[in-house]
Amino acid sequence: MSEIEIQGGAAPERTEPAEAERLTHYVSPRPFDPYVGERLAPAQERFYSASQWRMMWWKLRRHRLAVLSGAVLLVMYVSILFCEFLAPYGVDTRNVDFIYAPPQAVHILYRGRLVPPYVEGYDYHLDMDRLERIYTPDPAKRQTIRFFCHGDGYRFWGLFRGDLHLFCPARGGQLFLLGTDRLGRDMLSRIIYGARISLTIGLLGVASSFTLAILIGGIAGYYGGWTDILIQRVIEVIQSFPHLPLWMALSAILPVDWSPLLVYFGITLILGMIEWTHLARAVRSKLLALREEDFCTAAMLMGARPARIIGRHLLPSFMSHLIASATLMIPGMILGETALSFLGLGLRPPMTSWGVLLNEAQNINVVALYPWLMLPVVPVVVTILAFNFLGDGLRDAADPYH
């Protein structure tokens, strides 16, 4: 720490060398190429003249887990474009004869022979004493899964009619790979459709809070003084609330007659509005330390405007920290959505998101009797892990000069 202090404070005090010790002026007659020490091979040339982002990419590639996570996320985000095609059933298709049916296993061996994948149909009987629906797979009912087949009709993106699915149940058969819920709706299909809301809510939420955090935290940290104090107070005011009353109050002002789509945007905004403060404080405290650095003083002396200094010099220096925080925020948003649903403030059925599905699973009956309804937790966990690993990789890559 002490060396930093000396660097920062001692520079202006340096004096000119003493006049008395002047040497005779000598110039070497040999030709001089000033770049001789830095001549580069073409490969090196490419490396040294690469942009920051390119270097980040090179570095990111070395982090296998991050690349894998990125790929997983990419697949997930692409798949939400094609929910209708990927899900074997429609989001609201009810199979009232198969209520609370447990997941079916996919078989590819039939009497020791390799066959196209099939599931075993269910025998069903109703235990009226316990009021329980009991399903037993019947090996005799072999129902081969169809691929690229026509099934439940849908409107693709709400625009085009279609009924093509990646895979569907055998004709007259069922295909509940993840079981069904209390109205006999296929959980797999619901999870696939739920991704549409849950995955985007995190991105939008983080985008809004990220912008707010950098803007406000940046201003506070850079200017310091009264601006800082004022912003600090505002952040304190917001932070001093547990999230709960803020959520409740903000949800209360969402008009009742808003369409589900608007409610969805409203909720992303709510999540974003609340989460930014922590990031903003971190930005500020980093900035406070960074702006004492020489390069910042130098930029200031060269007459750079504050926006340039913040954006060009300071932000990149702690981008890594920001990215680490932001990756932790996206999962936070996804979880925030589930928490809002839990409190009855967020999205509600008939809308389908992972939060809504998990909230429906938040019930002792499910834990004890229908545990497969808790399966939406798997995509939630996978997404959050993936975001974390990706963020980890990005964090390291964001500082490619190390």
Binding site: R94, R130, L131, V256, G344, R348, I364, A368, L369
Partner: protein
């Protein structure tokens, strides 16, 4: 058992004559009703009086004197025997021995009520129950069900705290108290307690700014109140007041008495001025009236010092996570063996979040639980039966429909209002509800499908009320909509007269997911009518506000509260009488506020219903009441003001294996019923007095 045979005779006579809800009627369907002949002497008295009234059309007498001679003798013999053999309660043995509490002979009234339902039991034990809200202490008043007059499991009104009631012309009510009856602090319960309430509470403008409660003001008339003697009071009106007795028997009853000796210390008229001033300061209230109001509150049941008549009295200062109730040493009921009731010494309510109450119940943490359990918890609860030594029973619920759709006839949107008021539209919507599917999918087919009207258990029930416009018939429904002239537009969705697509937003209070499930099922069949349904779960206050203000077009909520009504119960739910009615909140508000707010009804059938209700209020005879009920039910069925789905949904009741006298089958209903109240929990008892070691330890620690 000759009194029982007499009872049967009565019943068979009644069956011939018509209509009253009685054990005989239900022997086929609900045999359980026979299991618990409750209150035999009074029942006989009431029945006898009833018969007499029908013969003479004159006086209704609810008193032992009216019993035919043989029964009276028998009654006196039984009563005398019980009185002679009063047994000291073990719980109070130490207190009586040391003189802190008088002996049992001085604690029970000279004429105690003798309970006979179920099997005689053994005193002792602690009943554990789970509650969720700090306000739930009032549930002990509901379950305790000590009322001036009370409903029996057959839904007959009999004297309970009162020794008897004389009713003349349906307008003069003479209440006879039990001699020697005492409040839970040992102070006598007398006519003064009635006088104090009527004169010093209900008619004090500070304490009751709104004046007397509506049940005491038939057409605005204030009753004449007289104290005839120490134990007799009389309320008389110039015209009949059929609301009076039922309101005394409600789960949240009209209290026309108050513990005067306790409350006078807070009343300006009686209290010492300086003392009152210190109390006002101490409790940090604005004035004496607020103080009085804070301390009073028999139904709220949150003041441990307030004397009570209930079987168990509050012991814990509130709020507390564990609320303890202790047996009332001066309770007025005894069993046939001379034990003072209640059998159970203590009741402990543990507060927990309502969402984990099913889990806790399934883990055996409650001895008697129905509140906060849902039908869908049954399978889970059933699994824990053996391990945690309880059994789950299924009782029927009493609302006219578990869920009903309410087209808002007062909605702001003029186009929708027009449609909602169109009888054909309401009928078409009702025809397009597949009640059978709802019943099968959500309720395992155990519910009763049909309209939102009375249940088969009600003596007024007729199958056609329930089945009117309730069969699933899409063709008819479509025909009706075509008749109205709603043309199908793009995508097969019909168009409203102003060209908008027919998209109905159905709002609900968002408290259970069952609501959105029901709507989801209805949505698909309505789709085939060319009507799109959007479910909009909201939040209770907001939901009601939107319905009341007319912002909501249609709503989903519980059906009518009382599906078990007898002709003697007011048919207010069928007529626009209160804002709470989601089908016509503004018309109801108009009636409720006597025209100060809301709008007057403008549909002829609704006006007719309102008039019929007013006629019912003025009617005197049983036959008149029946006739009016029938006409109202008929109109209600024809007009389809609310669209019923499935009723009589079973309610899981978890009963500890040691707990006795809880009926196998029963009705779990708020009013009439008071949940467990009509089955008299003071008669419930524990088979083995020593529970698990832990509970014994806790009980020991309390003493």
């Amino acid at each position: 058992m000759s009194s029982k045979s007499l009872l049967l005779l009565e019943n068979s006579e009644k069956r011939r004559n018509g209509s009253r809800l009685s054990p005989g009627r239900h022997r086929g369907k609900c045999a359980h009703f026979r299991l618990f002949p409750e209150f035999l002497p009074s029942r006989v008295a009431y029945s006898a009086g009833f018969a007499a009234r029908r013969r003479l059309g004159q006086a209704l007498r609810l008193r032992p004197r009216a019993i035919p001679g043989v029964a009276l003798l028998l009654f006196l013999a039984l009563f005398g025997a019980a009185q002679a053999r009063l047994v000291e309660t073990p719980y109070f043995a130490a207190a009586t021995a040391s003189g802190r509490l008088p002996a049992i002979g001085e604690r029970v009234p000279q004429q105690p009520a003798v309970a006979r339902s179920g099997t005689p039991g053994v005193p002792g034990g602690t009943l554990h129950m789970l509650m969720a809200s700090p306000h739930d202490t009032r549930m002990m008043v509901v379950y305790g069900y000590a009322r001036l007059v009370a409903y029996t499991p057959w839904l007959e009104l009999v004297p309970d705290i009162l020794a008897s009631v004389d009713v003349a012309d349906g307008r003069v009510f003479t209440l006879h108290l039990r001699k020697g009856m005492k409040w839970s602090d040992g102070h006598p319960f007398t006519a003064e307690d009635f006088r104090y309430w009527f004169k010093d509470v209900a008619q004090n403008p500070k304490l009751s700014p709104a004046g007397l409660p509506i049940e005491l003001l038939p057409r605005g008339e204030v009753p004449r109140f007289e104290v005839l003697d120490e134990t007799t009071v009389r309320y008389s009106w110039t015209q009949p007041n059929p609301l009076f007795l039922p309101s005394l028997a409600g789960p949240d009853p009209l209290y026309i008495y108050a513990p005067a000796h306790y409350l006078k210390q807070f009343h300006k008229k009686y209290a010492d001025k300086t003392h009152l001033a210190t109390l006002i300061k101490q409790y940090r209230v604005r004035n004496w009236a607020a103080l009085h109001n804070k301390m009073d509150g028999s139904y709220r049941n949150n003041n441990p010092d307030l004397p009570s008549l209930e079987p168990w009295i509050l012991k814990t200062p509130l709020p507390a996570p564990l609320i303890v109730f202790e047996r009332n040493p001066y309770y007025y009921r005894i069993d046939e063996a001379g034990h003072q009731l209640p059998y159970i010494d203590r009741v402990e309510l543990t507060l927990a979040d309502s969402r984990i109450i099913p889990a806790k119940t399934g883990a055996g943490e409650s001895d008697l639980q129905a509140r906060y359990l849902n039908f869908d918890n049954y399978t889970f609860l059933k699994r824990g039966e053996e391990r945690n030594r309880y059994h789950v029973r299924l009782w029927r619920t009493g609302p006219g429909s578990e869920w009903a759709l309410y087209p808002n006839l007062n909605t702001e949107d003029p186009v929708w209002r027009g449609l909602m008021r169109d009888l054909r539209f309401r009928r078409a919507l009702s025809l397009a509800v597949d009640r059978h599917e709802i019943n099968q999918v959500i309720y395992f087919g155990l519910g009763i499908e049909g309209q939102n009207t009375l249940l088969p258990q009600s003596p007024l029930y007729r199958p056609e009320y329930r089945s009117a416009w309730a069969q699933y018939d899409l063709d008819d429904a479509n025909r009706l909509l075509d008749l109205i002239g709603l043309k199908r537009g793009s995508g097969g969705i019909r168009q409203l007269p102003d060209g908008r697509p027919a998209e109905i937003i159905v709002e609900d209070n968002g408290e259970t997911s069952e609501q959105s499930d029901v709507l989801e099922l209805i949505r698909d069949s309505w789709r085939q009518l060319g009507i799109r349904l959007f479910a909009k779960p909201s939040q209770l206050t907001l939901f009601r506000h939107r319905v009341f203000s007319g912002a909501a077009v249609m709503s989903l909520d519980k059906g009518i509260e009382n599906g078990l009504a007898t002709a003697e119960m007011p048919p207010w739910e069928l007529a626009p009488t209160t804002q709470q009615q989601l089908e016509w909140p503004k018309w109801g508000q108009y009636f409720e506020t006597k025209g100060k707010a809301g709008e007057p009804p403008d549909l002829p059938s609704a006006i007719r219903l309102k008039n019929l209700y007013q006629q019912w209020l003025a009617a005197t005879g049983h036959d008149q009441h029946i006739a009016i009920w029938r006409e109202m039910l008929k109109i209600w069925a024809d007009e389809v003001y609310s669209i019923g789905t499935v009723a009589g949904i079973p309610q899981p009741i978890v009963v500890s294996d040691r707990l006795r006298n809880v009926p196998e089958k029963g009705i779990y209903n708020w009013d009439p019923g008071a949940y467990f109240g009509i089955y008299k929990p003071d008669r419930f008892w524990f088979a083995s007095p020593v529970p698990s070691a832990a509970r014994a330890a806790s009980a020991a620690a309390h003493r």
